[in-house]
Subunit: 228 residues, 2 copies
DNA sequence: ACAGTGCTATGACTTGAGGTCAGATTATGG
DNA sequence: CCATAATCTGACCTCAAGTCATAGCACTGT
């Protein structure tokens, strides 16, 4: 039996892992590419530059990621996965409620941006600066992974009776995703890319007021009423 | 006097118009290009194809528009200018109020789309499917021209006391632009590009309900309160 | 140790798109 | 009907994405 099984059984594949050294290199490429995309934009970033910055051949990158689109998609996923989820806010903030969590993250955006602006810029590129075919992939990913944890966050708000129950949950999630993304993009681009969204000087000092206004609007829109 | 002036005055330039045949050709190029961009997307559209579809040389297009970006920008402007402004709604709809105008246009989007989907697709490309440098140009244009007439429309809502006065007018305009653009894009892409935004079947039958929900949300957010 | 076996890396090569320009062509003015 | 300036042309250039045969490398079993 031992003899027979030793001949018959080894079931085709040799090593399942198959990714001992590969993973490390992929990660290095993604890191370098992220910097290049963030600094140059999607179109202007050159595959050749990324390769030579790493001291490897351009062909290698294509063997790993297939195409420039494929590489950018990996970069985008890594960038977005590095962002915090709503409910990662400190416990005391979460206890203060749904809208306090929003306020916390909006106020914190600027701070996080200064720590490391690169993934934010990449996320901007994914939202507005690539082809529609890639954009479709990106949306599929965002739906599948819910990287900011919007769905559990909305469920949290519903459980605390802070959100209206007469709306589709999906509607609330969409509205939150859209408006938060857009509002944050506006805050970010004022620094990363002045003049990309709206005009007007004296932005910094008004920022807190605008956040307050925005939250007020959002609370009226999707929150349970609690004021006269 | 006549003699002297006829010698002295012809002040250097010969014909100010300078655009007798040019305008017509530019328009033809923009038309053909719009079809190509809409059908292929920005990247996949080929300058050579556009030229040969018109039976002219590729170089001509570059002499008129400088670059692919430049051509797309003109195409985008033409597409967006072809859309109706909020206050173009029939008089009886306008008299019914701010939010009825919104409902009118949202319900009508699908209809307009079927009449001629090409400019809508181009506007989608401008919003999400080009490079950030172009996106910046586009935003400058949208700010300068206000092609949907959002600013006068908001002023209309304020005058009728249908919109809150405790918000910056600019804030209301931004919110309206963002959410309407995004909601319409979602409606459009379900038909133009299924699976680009959110999931879920049975879209058509739910469309009216979603429009109603969306308007309810928007009314609470920026409208004066009028309900218990 | 060593040979065998498949991943992985290489870099010269191909493809194909945007973009250029000197010269031909065409419209306008006298 | 010639002079002049605008416009058009298409061969040409540049350069970046993407390919592929080959070389190299790490790991396994004997």
């Amino acid at each position: 039996m031992g003899g027979i099984s030793s001949i018959v059984s080894p079931p085709r594949y040799r090593r399942m892992p198959q990714r001992p050294r590969s993973e490390g290199k992929r990660a290095k490429i993604v890191d370098a590419a992220m910097r290049h995309f963030a600094e140059q934009g999607y179109q202007a970033a050159r595959m050749g530059d990324i390769a030579s910055a790493l001291g490897i051949a351009k062909g290698s990158i294509f063997q790993h990621f297939g195409s420039k689109d494929g590489l950018f998609f990996e970069v985008y996923k890594k960038a977005v996965r590095s962002f915090p989820r709503y409910l990662d806010a400190p416990a005391e903030v979460c206890e203060a409620g749904f809208f306090e969590v929003l306020r916390y993250w909006l106020a914190r955006t600027e701070h996080l941006l200064h720590e490391d602006w690169i993934p934010y810029r990449v996320s901007l590129l994914g939202n507005y600066g690539t082809d529609l075919s890639l954009k479709r992939e990106i949306n599929r990913f965002l739906l599948a992974e819910d990287p900011y944890g919007t769905v559990p966050f909305v469920r949290f708000g519903l459980e605390r009776e802070e959100l209206r129950r007469d709306l589709d949950q999906e509607m609330i999630v969409s509205i939150l995703d859209w408006t938060m993304e857009r509002f944050q993009d506006a805050l970010l681009t004022e620094e990363l890319d002045p003049g990309l969204f709206r005009r007007q000087g004296n932005v910094m000092e008004k920022k807190e007021a605008r956040i307050a206004q925005f939250l007020d609007v959002l609370r009226r829109a999707i929150g349970t009423e609690r004021r006269g």
